[in-house]
Symmetry: C2
Subunit: 229 residues, 2 copies
DNA sequence: AGGAACTTACTAACAACTAAGTTAATAATC
DNA sequence: GATTATTAACTTAGTTGTTAGTAAGTTCCT
């Protein structure tokens, strides 16, 4: 019944410039990516016009297209650039490992709260790319698989070291943790007066530790104060 | 005018038809809402054209506008209609109350898995309305507040009846539960081959019961199914 | 001189929406 | 019970504005 022949653009565009060739050009690109990130976060990819982005950095629309070839090219640049921040977070988690990583979740929440643009950008772009065939669908699939792998690895390390119960499924727990963090973020973005991101993550962090730790934790009151062993 | 004069349409449009006046009209409205739900779910509100919706039901674009007055009018109709399904879920939860409600979460997940369109629609529309000023922002704020209240009430009842520990914060737990469910849904929609919605919710349901129940649960050998495939 | 980084001027497609007329069914009147 | 009036439910045709993207030329810097 009415099969979808919804084929996207054939992506023929000659992708005019993949990399900058000049310090000036590189700087412009950075400006453009920053502006586009803000606008995509506010009005989405589909809801944002190239003209708006161009005005924001004080050039014309074709001037913008010179750098990225097409709107999709710009999207890709935005997504890849902003992903670095998240990857940094992933490294942090991976480096720490085990229960200590869970204890540091509130710090991550603080960073997010201070940069609502990044959180919103990813929430909006994720929703716009849920469908296979959406321009950045594969990117988000890959990204979530990687992050789940990182979190699952962190849990597995906690199990190896004996800090965490063995009968927890690291894969499933990883999905749950990422799900909760995303969900907190969207409720907070939607209604910051009612939902405090940091409080939510702090409480959830405690819940996770209570759930996963083999030994009961000493009662750490309030915010994330490190307890040196 | 680099400043944002991004004022939305003043909503003056004479909202030509708020309700149907004829069985035939009512039926057409239903068709249109169904088609628009599908399309909004796939390509979002901003990414979907009135022409596409109109074609889908076999009428012209002005014919569509006759019924809903404007694109926003159509969006509102879609959102309000599809919300009824979610409200039904809320009633279920509220009626059951306490731990039993947590045990029935997988049933809710089953319903969602069989209707991916609804889940996707809400994920997409939520992300498109995170900003105050977005056309349905207030609707989503209201909706989440209501659902948090329902879930928090369910927990409070569990506490009153003695099934659940008193030192859990019902408001925070409600945020967490909705966050996790939304997050499961979006990971599942993005990558259904790696994330099984039902398995995730089942596991999470057990985690919640373990976390909140005062008495340890008898081991209900529910699903020993394999993890995702 | 030559290329990077633009601009102006344009196009073709499409967006939501309107105006005005048409059809068909119902409801009211004679 | 046929005719008329009224209305819902459309259609055709057009308006206005915006979209991403192009073509071709210009400025600037090395």
């Amino acid at each position: 019944m009415t099969e979808n022949s919804d084929v996207r653009k054939p992506l023929v565009g000659r992708a005019r410039a993949a990399k900058a060739a000049t310090p000036k050009g590189a700087e412009r690109r950075r400006e453009i990516v920053a502006a586009a990130s803000e606008l995509f976060a506010r009005t989405g990819f589909r809801g944002t016009g190239m003209t708006e982005v161009a005005q924001r950095v004080g050039i014309t629309e074709p001037g913008l297209l010179y750098h990225f070839g097409s709107k999709q090219g710009l999207l890709r640049a935005v997504v890849e650039h902003r992903d670095l921040a998240s990857q940094a977070f992933a490294r942090d988690i991976a480096d720490v490992g085990g229960l200590q990583a869970l204890r540091e979740m509130p710090a991550f929440a603080h960073r997010n709260r201070d940069q609502p643009g990044l959180a919103k950008l990813f929430a909006v772009l994720l929703a716009e790319n849920l469908d296979p065939g959406d321009p950045e669908h594969d990117f988000f699939v890959r990204r979530y698989r990687e992050m789940r792998a990182v979190v699952a690895g962190m849990i597995r390390e906690g199990q190896r070291s004996g800090e965490m119960r063995m009968d927890a499924d690291p894969e499933l727990k990883a999905i749950e943790i990422l799900a909760a963090l995303d969900g907190f973020a969207s409720q907070w973005l939607l209604d910051p007066e009612m939902v405090d991101l940091v409080v939510c993550v702090e409480e959830y962090s405690r819940t996770l530790i209570r759930d996963l730790a083999t030994d009961p934790e000493p009662v750490t009151a309030g915010t994330s104060e490190e307890i040196q062993g």
